[in-house]
């Protein structure tokens, strides 16, 4: 366990028992001509040393925006509300400059696309050394040596020769290793990885995840793993948070969430991934499309697509409720869901004939994103309503 006293900086209060990173009621809104885009709403989580937290969600669920808010990397027009505390120190409201001492030194980030997150006109070693020199008053030579060391740590062969090369001379997987090296060179306590393996092939993804877990064990840093891949989450994290429509809809230990999901969206998401057990059967996708963040449906944001939807779901959005030890869900009907055997069957329907309206229509009238023609199959909703 690392403690606050290990930190050389005096701006951090020592002896605090606060969690490493504590996010409370984080909301991010972007005002646009079409109305406010409510990208993140009321997201809270705590992170302790050595934790690996997974944040899963589809595109537009607010997972990347919340991580950018923590890093203070959002554009100026973003309205960030709530509190982000790092070892008790408030980060929200700091200017770009005031955030600088925290970035990389305490909280660092691994971006999705290694093609664009490295500067093509500087050598890899130069970029790594620059990151190191931003927080350490050392000679260029010493920083270069540190860069080579970091490259070796992430498993790049011949690190001294490779450090003098430019990003285009590296393959995708190697480039992502460089980005990871950059994230760990200042020995941060929190690493936020935003879809670190999405752009990579599976065999390379396995290498990168392996490297990240090894580094995590060696440095005892906490990792926030943002991904849309449920498989990556299953193999890597101990806690998972499922995001939908800008907010956390379920959160808990990874085994509980995968085995006893208490939110219909999680059930649908799990049923959408083909696995050996689903062979020869139809997958159970979620009907419709994710909500528009400008015009959210009334009540629960998942209600227009939910097979268990009831009156109350359209009326107000539920709070996160305790559904087990450390397991919370944002659903009015989780208790009912818990009694359903094979909950994935709730999502079964005929693929041919169910008619979907265009996305724009769904965005304009969020509560009616689906329309079912009478002539062809019906949603399981009807059956369930009885």
């Amino acid at each position: 366990m690392s403690t606050a006293s290990e930190l050389p900086e005096d701006f951090l209060s020592s002896g605090t028992t606060a969690p490493l990173l504590s996010v409370k009621d984080l909301s991010v809104t972007f005002p646009t001509d079409d109305g406010d885009v409510r990208a993140v709403r009321n997201v809270s989580f705590d992170l302790n040393p050595g934790d690996v937290l997974g944040i899963v969600g589809e595109s537009g669920s607010g997972k990347s925006v919340s991580s950018m808010a923590i890093m203070g990397l959002l554009p100026k027009n973003a309205i960030v509300e709530g509190s982000i505390r790092y070892r008790g120190e408030e980060l929200n409201g700091r200017t770009y400059k005031q955030m600088q001492p925290f970035r990389s030194k305490h909280i660092s980030m691994i971006f999705q696309d290694p093609m664009t997150s490295l500067n093509p006109v500087y050598t890899v070693g130069w970029q790594l050394a620059e990151t190191y020199r931003a927080h350490h008053d050392v000679s260029k030579k010493a920083a270069w040596a540190k860069a080579v060391e970091a490259l070796e740590l992430v498993g790049i062969p011949q690190p001294d020769r490779r450090a003098a090369q430019y990003p285009h001379e590296f393959s995708g997987g190697m480039r992502q290793r460089v980005v990871i090296a950059m994230a760990i060179i200042n020995d941060p306590s929190v690493i936020i990885a935003d879809e670190p393996t999405t752009a990579l092939d599976v065999t390379v993804q396995a290498q990168i995840l392996d490297t990240m877990l090894r580094l995590q064990a060696e440095t005892d840093a906490a990792i926030v793993m943002i991904t849309h891949d449920l498989g990556v989450v299953a193999g890597m994290v101990n806690r998972v948070q499922v995001m939908y429509g800008g907010t956390v809809v379920e959160s808990g230990p990874v085994d509980d969430v995968f085995e006893q999901p208490r939110m219909p969206y999680t059930v649908g998401l799990l049923g959408s991934v083909p696995n050996p057990a689903s062979l020869g059967k139809r997958l159970t996708p979620i009907k419709g499309a994710p909500p528009s963040l400008v015009n959210l449906p009334s009540g629960c944001s998942f209600s227009p697509r939910c097979p268990l939807v009831a009156e109350v779901c359209h009326e107000w959005e539920p709070e996160l409720e305790e559904a087990g030890p450390n397991h919370t869900t944002r659903c009015h009907r989780w208790e009912h869901l818990a009694t359903v055997d094979q909950p994935q069957r709730l999502f079964l329907h005929d693929e041919i004939g169910t008619v979907e309206n265009p996305a724009v229509f769904a965005a304009a009238r969020p509560d009616e994103s689906l329309e079912v023609t009478a002539a062809h199959g019906s949603l399981v909703t009807d059956e369930e309503a009885k």
Partner: protein, 333 residues
């Protein structure tokens, strides 16, 4: 056994690499596809998997003659496609269609959905009374789960999954018998992806289509395919029935690939042993001699550098076809 719908024999596609300068000279060749052979029967799905750059998409396009193959033969119902002119190919295009990967790039943004789907009908001179084309478009929209009332909307008004459905409707317009699906779901979110996969399966059952399903996502391929072919650097290195490939893979690359796929099940994930390959895929401009996988293979011996292993049945009559000197069954999933 019925006659195969599609026969691909020793298909080769090479792209010249041009040097710099005023008069560009060929300085090398990208060996994208180097001798791929397989057959496909009516109503069957063959999954073609591999990592980026292994030549799987090029194979799909070379079959359609969108890339003219360098050598080899592609026979559709016994007719040789590679020697046909564009004009001779045209009537055959009704039977062979393709769905592209990126639903954002494959639909013309200036056209209404109606025109997009009607275009193949018009090109191939749809017969019948006026209004027949319109009725067919509506029928197709409904078939892929879109509301026919929205035929006058533009592609940007639809979400990714819906656009992919429009692409599928366009491909289905002429009642094809064979479709190349080039990564049809990889650009989509998981929950939407499953809907498109289900749709493709239902369409196959209803219309008796044969699919060549090109994808890098092994779980999706396992779900949809009858047979699976694994490609590495332009060659099929293992091919067989779906269950045999996934349960008893023989080739070390297939084993590594399968073991690397993350499974959405925490318990299994922790139990699993992962084969982590070292290094990267070599350049297709200058592939390794002998077996192309040998540079990353933990079983590689001297013979692998000298002699290229043939794709043949190894390890019993119910095994897979595999191209490895040291093929051996191993359970990885």
């Amino acid at each position: 056994m019925t006659a195969p719908l599609l026969e691909v024999i020793d298909l080769v596609k090479e792209f010249p690499v041009r040097g710099k300068g005023i008069i560009p000279r060929n300085v090398g060749t990208v060996q994208a596809v180097s001798g791929v052979s397989f057959t496909l029967h009516p109503g069957e799905t063959l999954g073609l998997v591999g990592e980026s750059g292994c030549g799987k998409s090029t194979t799909g396009r070379a079959i359609l003659q969108l890339h003219k193959p360098t050598s080899g033969s592609v026979r559709f119902e016994g007719r040789e496609l590679t020697t046909m002119s564009t004009k001779q190919l045209r009537p055959l295009r009704k039977d062979i269609q393709i769905v592209f990967q990126d639903p954002y790039a494959s639909l013309n943004p200036k056209w209404q959905v109606n025109d997009i789907i009607a275009e193949p009908l018009q090109i191939h001179g749809a017969e019948g009374p006026r209004g027949a084309v319109q009725r067919r478009v509506d029928e197709l929209l409904e078939l892929v789960g879109l509301n026919p009332e929205h035929r006058n909307r533009y592609p940007h008004e639809f979400s990714g999954g819906q656009r992919q459905r429009i692409g599928i409707a366009r491909a289905l317009a002429l009642n094809p018998r064979f479709m190349v699906l080039d990564e049809p779901v990889s650009a989509l979110d998981v929950s939407v992806q499953a809907g498109v996969v289900n749709l493709l399966e239902e369409l196959q059952e209803r219309l008796g289509l044969a699919y060549l399903f090109v994808a890098h996502d092994l779980s999706v391929v396992r779900h949809i395919s009858d047979r699976v072919a694994v490609m590495y650097l332009g060659k099929i290195i293992e091919m067989g029935e779906r269950e045999t490939i996934y349960n008893r893979p023989m080739h070390p690359y297939t084993q590594a690939l399968l073991s690397a796929v993350p499974m959405p099940d925490p318990k299994q994930e922790r139990k699993r042993q992962r084969i982590v390959l070292t290094g990267d895929v070599p350049s297709p401009v200058n592939p390794p001699s002998g077996c192309r996988f040998r540079t990353r293979c933990w079983k590689a011996q001297d013979i692998c550098a000298v002699e290229e292993p043939r794709l043949e049945r190894r390890g019993g009559p119910d095994g897979t076809l595999s191209a490895c000197h040291f093929a051996e069954e191993r359970q990885v999933v």
